[in-house]
Amino acid sequence: MVWLAGGALAFCLAMIASLLALILVQGLQTFWPARIVRFQLADGRAVMGEIAVTESYPMQGNEPQGNDPQGDESNKPQRRLVRTGNFELTNSHFQWITDTEQQQAPTRPEWAATVERVEWGRFYGEPDEYVQVVPRHLHEDETALTRFVQFWSMHAAQLPGDQQSMLAERLPQIQQQLREMQTVATLAQKRELQAHTSPGESIWIVLPSGESIAADSKDAETLVADRFERRWSGNQVAWQQFLTRHAAVRAARQRLYQLEKHDVGRINHEMERSRLAVRRSELDAGVSVSQLCATRLGIEQGLRALDQSWKAMQQQAAVPTSLRADDVWQNLSSAVLANLQSELDRQREQLEQDLEGNTAKIEKLPASVRDAVKEDSQQNAQASGQLELLQQEIDDLRAQSIAEMLAMRTADGQRPLIRVGEIVRAYLANQLTTFQRLTIYLGRWAEFIGGEPREANSEGGVFPAIWGTVAMTLIMCVIVVPFGVLAALYLREYARAGFMVSAVRIAINNLAGVPSIVFGVFGLGFFCYFVGAFVDGGPPNVGIASLDRSTWWTYLSVLLVVSGVGSGLLVYQLTRSRYHKSGWGTWLQVASVAIWCLAVYLALVVVLRNPHFGGLFAAELPNPTYGKGGILWASLTLSLLTLPVVIVATEEALAAVPNSLREGSYASGASQWQTIRRIVLPHAMPGIMTGMILAMARGAGEVAPLMLVGAVKMAPELPLDSIFPFLHGERSFMHLGFHIYDLGFQSQNSDAARPVVFTTTLLLIGIVVSLNVLAIILRARLRKRFQGGQF
């Protein structure tokens, strides 16, 4: 028997250990930078990448017999799953390669590089050339002249006939002048660039047609460049240049991302808020102004556009300094401008009239709505100003981040250009020292833990998921522990043992056995669709008719009377001496239960059919705020799920408090609550902590109910952040458990995601373990207090 029992234990331990070992091995090796291998295939193709899996497979008779590097003694050739990357070229991330397909033994090219990108996943190739685009400097005169030419090509038709012929006569001259100017400028800039070349660098001229010509060639003297390119050719030179420039370019690109995501997002958020304020005031006042607002917005935008185009025209029509000598141009310009101005003035007049009408209508609105509309219009004007400023910076950064590119040569000879700004990390996989490998490994871990996901979650980090998991677990704890402890206190300390208590205890234990998805369904139906919808839009939003106001007040006063009577009965029962109960006792109990039932019913009616409550987020309707999955509802659902764990653990802890301590406390003249607070609870605290630990472990690892009540594949915002009110209970969130499910089974590219699944699993286990360790340390410190020794 002892062998059977011991064997069973050993078997269980072995299974758990092997599961953990699998996750550890797979999870830890994912980020190790592997070497790149190049396969030359019999059909002439060449493939380069990291080997993900190597396995044997049974040889079939009809397989073509190729060059088998393993020799003939093994009848089972191997096949390898190679991560080839380059998705935009090959439409796959992975490729199986069997030994029989290979023409020669695989090699490890010295210059093969692994490139991790923001988009399209990894790229494997050899650095071939580093390209930096340099725009051609535009001199002030040249810009003015170009504008002037453009102006006349657009507005020539507005001139009278004789002046048109005069223009036609002179335009070719200007164009000639412009071209000369451009040639000179090109030449000057070319010389300057050539004077400052670094070793291995060459300068190329790119024509407006897109054709590029080496700056050293003879016919380059008379060209007009659209832009220049500085090129560093050759593996080593290109790579060196990449290493020196990468950090700066990447930083520009990240700044761009920050601006687009946060700053623009913040401005949009402000605009949305003022729009909601208008909507709220509308609802309060019972009028609709959305049409008026939209019209006003259109008019204001039209006016701004008019101003801008007038400024642009004036600029275009300004006679360049090089032509000032000829008076004719001045006359021609002012004639056309006068025409254009009268046209624009007519449009402006029309718009201003519209605006006046609009303002008049707005003035007639109730004051609260009017203020909100004015606020909104100010907000919009301010926001468009801010956006314009931002746009300038965004354009600059974008130009910077796309100006530099790395040309990579793939195994099959293609040579795509990769933008340096989109390269997250790149390394020469076959030239690394162990220390460099370790640095890359740790860097990848840091990105994984602290970064945001990219590439449909299969690359990048899982920080939002970690944050979401921890936030949800902590909120759950904050909810479930007080509730569970209070319930257990009642069951163990106050309730008189009997049928009811046993029934409740059995029910709680059964609750622990209910499948978690059932809790998810309940959470969705009750919290999201009922409580959430009620919070959003009041009784009508959940299909309950409000009472009319006088009836509601009647209900409220009846409720107050009934609960007053109930409280009186309760106090009477509590204060009656234990040894002097009369025959009325049972009747009193029945009566007070009935009265409390009635009070609860009335309270429900008063709350649910309240005509004065129109919802906290009625302005956002029909878009739900709390009436959908969110971290608050998810935490509440998991609290229900883990409540039995806490109750059972707490009850056991309370039962373990020696009765002699309670008696000692009572004998000292303590009331029951004082005894519980000062003696029983502190003594039971380690046990309560154990319950909390178990609940946390259960809650953090739960996935099924979360899919229904708020966990999502990709959440744009964190549920707990530094923006007031810090905890955003309505936001959906990312969760590590759900992340694993999504990556492993819902991803379009699950082969590529598989390593990350293991790593994420490792991380989830790590988080659960560290939350537990934290709680265990806390418990140990508490426990020490009750086992003698120092405080």
Binding site: Y579, Y666, S668, G669, G788
Partner: protein
């Protein structure tokens, strides 16, 4: 309280109807701190105490002796109404602590318990520091003044003859003390509220002889300052520490008088048999 409201079930009618307690005359001259008046008690349907009528003298040590199950602990726990905690208990009769009824409906049991101190069989120090253990009764009354607490703590620990042993480590856990020290700590806690009556429920039964001796010395010293009612199984102890001894048997008070008389020349045959060790 009217006993007729709680009629004794007929199955547990007293075995011999011609019975009355023998209370010696010396007690008539004593000042009385607690008087038990026709007190009966039932656990569910089973009667455990029968018409106990017993005056407890003030400033003296009174011992309750008797074989196991005779009801002496039950009687003791009735005095500060610790039996309230047991659901099935019913009573008749009453007790008066310095003239105030204990079982009257208007009595606040919390206030009542504050007027007495109680020490249990097994030492039950709370899981707190020695200091907090002693001042616990004051703490629950909301006393915050450190000076007051410290003064009470020292006085009680001196009273319990523990001060010299623990004065340097008042912040240590009460659980770090030895068994005998723990019991004296409990006595210190019991006397920190200046009780009108100190109830000791076999305070030495869980202690070794040395610790027992110390507790007995302590009880002897506390005589005069406090009125003490002690339940004990140990007749030598009762004869050593007590001024008066009450012998109980099968829920009845058999004989009650000065200890010297009870142990040397008892009036009742059953008392004599018991103190000579012929049964029990």
């Amino acid at each position: 309280m009217d006993a007729s409201k709680h009629p004794a079930p007929s199955i547990t009618a007293p075995p011999d109807k011609v019975y009355s307690s023998v209370v010696h005359d010396e007690l008539r001259e004593e000042k009385i701190v607690l008087s038990v008046e026709d007190y009966c008690l039932w656990y569910g349907a089973k009667q455990t105490l029968y018409d106990v009528r017993m005056p407890i003298p003030a400033g003296k040590v009174t011992a309750l002796i008797g074989p196991s199950g005779c009801g002496k602990s039950t009687l003791l726990r009735s005095i500060n109404r610790m039996n309230d905690l047991i659901d099935s208990v019913r009573i008749s009769g009453d007790m008066k602590l310095n003239g105030d009824s204990i079982f009257s409906p208007i009595v606040d049991v919390i206030q009542l318990r504050k007027r007495m101190g109680m020490v249990f069989q097994k030492p039950n120090p709370f899981p707190m520091s020695i200091f907090e253990n002693v001042v616990y009764p004051l703490r629950i009354d909301g006393e915050r003044n450190r000076a007051v607490l410290a003064e009470v703590c020292e006085r009680s620990l001196r009273g319990a003859a523990l001060w010299d042993e623990v004065k340097d480590r008042l912040q240590d856990s009460g659980l770090s003390l030895s068994g005998g020290q723990q019991q004296r700590l409990c006595i210190a806690r019991a006397i920190s509220g200046d009780p009108e009556l100190l109830l000791l429920d076999e305070p030495c039964s869980a202690l070794d002889p040395l610790a027992t001796g110390k507790i007995e010395d302590l009880i002897y010293e506390l005589r005069g300052e406090y009125s003490i009612l002690i339940v004990t199984h140990n007749m030598q102890q009762a004869s050593r520490v007590s001024d008066y001894t009450a012998f109980m048997y099968l829920g009845r008070l058999i004989e009650y008088g000065p200890s010297t008389r009870i142990f040397t020349n008892p009036h009742e045959k059953r008392t004599e048999d018991y103190v000579r060790g012929r049964f029990g």
